[in-house]
Symmetry: C2
Subunit: 360 residues, 2 copies
Amino acid sequence: MKSQLHPKSHRIVVLAEGSFGVLESKTATVLVRYLAENVVAIIDSTRAGRDVSEVIGIGEGIPVVRDLGEAMRFQPTMLAIGIAPPGGELPRAWRAVLGEAIAAGLHVMSGLHRFLSEDAAFAALAARHNVVLWDARKPPANLPVATCKAAEVESTVVLTVGSDCRVGKMLSGIEITNAARARGLNAEFCPTGQNGIMVWGWGIAIDAVISDFTAGAAEQIVLEGAKNHEVLLVEGQGSLVHPGYSGVTLSLLHGSMPDAMIFCHQPSRTTVARYTVPLPSLSEMIAQYEMMAAPIKPAKVIGLALNCFDLSEADARDAIATAEAETGLPATDVVRFGAEKLVDAILAVHPAKSEQDSQD
Amino acid sequence: MKSQLHPKSHRIVVLAEGSFGVLESKTATVLVRYLAENVVAIIDSTRAGRDVSEVIGIGEGIPVVRDLGEAMRFQPTMLAIGIAPPGGELPRAWRAVLGEAIAAGLHVMSGLHRFLSEDAAFAALAARHNVVLWDARKPPANLPVATCKAAEVESTVVLTVGSDCRVGKMLSGIEITNAARARGLNAEFCPTGQNGIMVWGWGIAIDAVISDFTAGAAEQIVLEGAKNHEVLLVEGQGSLVHPGYSGVTLSLLHGSMPDAMIFCHQPSRTTVARYTVPLPSLSEMIAQYEMMAAPIKPAKVIGLALNCFDLSEADARDAIATAEAETGLPATDVVRFGAEKLVDAILAVHPAKSEQDSQD
């Protein structure tokens, strides 16, 4: 489950041709946010010549360049695929760029559903040039069915859950982990999706696991993280009310067996994205997670991470106050106002678990 | 999703060496129950010479034989693998039997996790002898993420859900389908697991689908069944309180978007099999299914299928009366007392849906 390459030891050029800064290049944005010291350039000919921060508001000093040839001036050692092609097939033009990058000796990091390492042409080329094709989404072989072993770890396990996809479950997990470390806690982020795996260097993309073994994969992630850390922030996926991905969400809840949950939500969202399914109220969604956790291992939602990127600062503060009043739980926007409140909430659970374990 | 072979047009010999009649050969028992006219012999040298009915209580007149050589006297056209090998690997001795069967011109039907059609040696042998290796568990390629299209079918969709694995979700689905057909309803069973697929000749084994597409697979099954049938009995899997398989269960609930559910349970069971997780009360489990269905499409549990195989007739009647009193729902053991009560419950929902559709 450790990655074959660690992105933090590389100089990365990110391929985001034609879509840097829009939803399809979420991976590129995540790489800039969490690997800013490693990303040396973004390839997008339609935005070439601009600074990354002019396009996405972060990443000052990183240039957007026209093509791989221009990017080579920055001596990259790795090409990261920062876009998801529609339909899952690599466009012909990108295949050419990938081939060029491999021939130039760059390792390749990809989160695509279609694995580059299983593409005969790329695999042969990579072998010839002695570079690694790292498919961050490819799950390890021989995952087990879940066995409830995650209940036995000594670490405090916190799962980020949420109302929908793309509300900030990964980002909150990372921000809380970083804030907890700054407070002296031995905390670890446990990635369960390809973007988290790319920036953190380990994990399993559980949405790519065969459904019989998805909870087992979540269990393996917790057992791995618990080897050396006292607090684990497990990255949630999907939502219990998502028509397509709810099964992934429940597998993750039952496989990771958290001690507590952080609920992530975008206050401006009222239906599941791309569906007409209305989102229940915050209290209803929180009750649903707690009810589904209870038969396997009881766990409470202990705080809210609200993604207010599309609200003014005043509206964001209002949304946070409203959510706190409705739920009685501490709430924050971790990007805008920091994750301290949520670290406090975890600390309130953490010693309780430590004491309980020592009494067992 | 239609099978490459239809088992009802074959003379089947079932391989159940060393385990006919015990839990590991559930597939063999299911084949005898639902394909009694097609099964010509069972191979199990440890029980050879007995009649199938002496071993499992059904299948009178079908012989248990020592080996494939003896089974060939009954002119089989297909070998079915009736056992699940521990660890998923085919024992060497079975490989030899499979090779013999293929060389003798028998098609092979398998529900194993490891696909025979992807085994180079078997695939080559099968090509040479012009026989089909049918892996009932192998999902179709390019399954979509669920889109909520199952809500639009005109058929009444009934999902069998339950408290645990192996409580009778497949069997109840088939028995209710058969009873509904006997009452003149154009009903269809929609298999979601390898055993159901083997006896019914179509379906998708959703536990073998990558988790992102599991609900999408359930949706495809409903869309297929709805083409020609007014009532669909969708085979449920696992349980919402199963630590390993709950995600499969929820994917199936949200992907198939049932109009109603039949809850299956074994009254003597108090914990999830192979785990220490206690089962909640019947009412709690029913409420949990209804609550999880509600945000995507509301559906009620309308009847109970109780698996009382390990109870005396008096105790079975007691268990049924107790469950009816607790839940206010009609209950039966479909094998012992028939499925009529549950067909009645479906009929009470079915015209209501038809009327509603015609008013839309």
